[in-house]
Amino acid sequence: MTPIRSLRTLPWDWYPGQIPDNVVVDKTAYIETAYSFYLYRSEQPVGVRVGRGASTYLGTMFDVGPRGQVIVGEYTLLHGARIICDAEIHIGDYCLISWNVVLMDSYRLPFDIRERRRELDRVSSRVPRRVEVAVPTRPIRVGHNVWIGFDACILPGVQIGEGSIVGARSVVSADVDPYCIVAGNPARVIRKLDCN
């Protein structure tokens, strides 16, 4: 007997998991594998929204905590980014986001050593072993038509303006104006783009 596949499984998927119920995927969008939701645990009405024509490929991980919300805009390509979200990460339309890019809106653990130890003491008795302590979060906003090169890190609170490019391996710790090319670690503006 052929097993009945739920509507939340992907017919082409190698991974036996499902797309969680509070993930809204446009019918024209493409999700390569439900493994992208292996770390997903959002309890929001909509934890991830993937827009029209957007694609998420192998290696993309939605590491979204209970209060996290991720929006992936229209025609955006996610080619293996790690999205660490405990508040809100908003990615605009027509974005190109490369492999091993880290977008994080939270450090997940406190800066204070004693508080950090207290949480690490608890982690090892949880199943699965997840960090669950409340720490300040700072949402990330990536504008439309932004291109982020591989291995780049986008730190908590960063806003990247429309049309900008982040060079490979850059670490972005401050806001990026629209229509700029930024590169380096920490990233700085290396060129302005013609916005027409």
Binding site: Y107, L120, S124, S125, D151, V171, S173, N185
Partner: protein, 190 residues
């Protein structure tokens, strides 16, 4: 911390641990590739303390390498490349896709590099490899290391230091400092 609960012995989710690996109580190692590049002949080659989580960590330890990790560490998908010695303290957190290496893997001088390429090749069987620089790496207690960071040979990261995401560390980091960038520079703790 009070250890009131009876702790289960540490284990690897994907099989039997190599005989020269010692793992403390309540420590879990996950992923099928954890020991794919584990070739150490030392005993013990890898020691991990109690209550650690080693989620998707590569223990790429060469024949003479040795790694020691303290209690309560939380490491996700890090690549630990060790040809000599790597010591990690207690309550150390290491983020996703971080690399720590205590060696250069190949010599610097061009002629020696050719000799090394031959020694490593299919036709260089048994030929000794030239001397390769390697120096121990020490990560002290309570260090936080962000995702995509890189720590290279000879570095000592002082207790309580905070290594930002994507930082490249080639020099010692003093205790209780926060560093980011390439080259890494001091920034304020928030």
């Amino acid at each position: 911390m009070t250890d009131t609960i009876e702790l289960t012995p540490g284990y690897w989710t994907n099989g039997d641990l190599p005989l020269n690996v010692r793992v403390g109580a309540n420590t879990v190692i996950t992923s099928d590739y954890a020991f794919k590049r584990f070739r150490s002949r030392r005993d013990p080659a890898l020691t991990i303390g109690n209550n650690c989580t080693m989620d998707g960590v590569h223990f790429a330890i060469g024949e003479e390498g040795r790694i020691e990790i303290g209690d309560h560490c939380y490491v996700t998908n890090a690549v630990l490349l060790c040809e000599l010695e790597l010591r990690i303290g207690t309550y150390v957190v290491i983020g996703w896709n971080t690399t720590i290496a205590d060696t250069d893997f190949h010599p610097i001088a061009p002629a020696e590099r050719i000799a090394d390429a031959i020694a490593c090749s299919t036709v260089g069987k048994g030929r000794p490899r030239p001397h390769i620089a390697r120096r121990p790496v020490v990560i002290e207690d309570d260090v936080w290391i962000g995702p995509n960071a890189t720590i290279l040979k000879g570095v000592r990261v002082g207790a309580g230091a905070w290594i930002e995401a994507g930082a490249l560390i080639v020099r010692d980091v003093p205790p209780a400092t926060r560093v980011m960038g390439n080259p890494a520079q001091y920034i304020e703790m928030p």
